[in-house]
């Protein structure tokens, strides 16, 4: 049986992982674009991304576009797997075999 993942289950991180796993495998999303979609603040999103990155669930890529710094975020294969397992565990709680 799949186990719940405490890192992912936190509401904001659940939102972030739900959003990032909708992108294609190779796709990444701009920090500001993601922040606006999820209605989170800079600090809040940044802190949760750091936690998820620490677990290896997301990859953060910082680069300069012209002179402006841009941060791109994507779900890793490990993150996608962990999220799928977490959703399976939630479903199992609702309909145990």
């Amino acid at each position: 049986m799949e186990a719940l993942d405490a890192t992912i289950h936190q509401p904001a991180r659940l939102q972030i992982m739900s959003a990032l796993t909708q992108l294609d495998q190779d796709e990444r999303v701009d920090f500001t674009f993601l922040k606006d979609r999820l209605a989170l603040t800079d600090g809040n999103l940044g802190a949760h991304l750091t936690t998820l990155e620490g677990r290896g669930y997301i990859a953060v890529d910082k680069q300069f576009v012209g002179r402006r710094p841009k941060t791109y975020v994507k779900a890793t294969a490990a993150g996608r797997h962990a999220f799928a397992s977490h959703v399976a565990a939630l479903n199992a709680i609702l309909s145990p075999k």
Partner: protein, 187 residues
């Protein structure tokens, strides 16, 4: 970690809402703006060429140039929001198809000198080959856009040549319609 069924249901609901919001945002980056832009340009060019292709040759060139510039602008703006690694092998394939479609094959067939409609058909078929290859390569809707527009070009050119520009107008409308489908329903 243990949670109640109520909390699990609430979490699943949150997941669904976040996924739906992100899906809508992702759909806005799946090419509908390009389909609307080029669909509108195709419609305009088909209408002008139906009236008189030689009279509106400059307008056709200006429309194409405006489309290319607008496409670059859309690509740059949207690419800053959601992007992925450039597939260099695919870029190479596109370059090869365009080189053969516009450069190598016309050297033998002289298709751009035969008639305006023939040159136009060859040009559009070259781009539809790019769509078909891209559709297979990335497993996307480009495939059926490429096949359908190719069928319209061939039907107009080979079966009903008097209505060729009408078929091109239909192809443009199909691109616009596909844009709406992609924006609202594509995965």
């Amino acid at each position: 970690m243990e949670i109640t069924p109520e909390d699990a249901a609430k979490a699943l609901q949150e997941i669904k809402l976040s996924q739906a919001a992100m899906r809508s945002a992702i759909r806005s980056h799946r090419g509908h703006l390009f389909l609307w832009l080029w669909g509108a340009i195709w419609c305009a060019m088909a209408t002008l060429n139906w009236i008189d292709p030689f009279r509106f040759a400059t307008a056709n060139n200006l429309l194409t140039a405006a489309g290319v510039l607008a496409s670059f602008a859309i690509g740059i703006i949207q690419g800053r929001q959601i992007n992925s690694r450039v597939d260099r092998r695919f870029v190479g394939v596109v370059a090869a198809v365009l080189l053969f479609g516009y450069g190598v094959i016309p050297l033998v067939t002289h298709s751009f000198q035969a008639s305006y409609a023939e040159g136009y058909a060859v040009s559009m078929l070259t781009w539809m080959l790019v769509y078909v290859i891209g559709g297979i390569w990335f497993d996307t809707y480009w495939l059926w856009v490429g096949i359908t527009v190719t069928a319209l070009i061939l039907a107009g050119y080979l079966i009903w040549p008097a209505l060729f520009w009408g078929f091109m107008l239909l192809a443009g409308l199909m691109l616009v319609g596909t844009g709406f489908y992609v924006r609202h329903f594509w995965r």
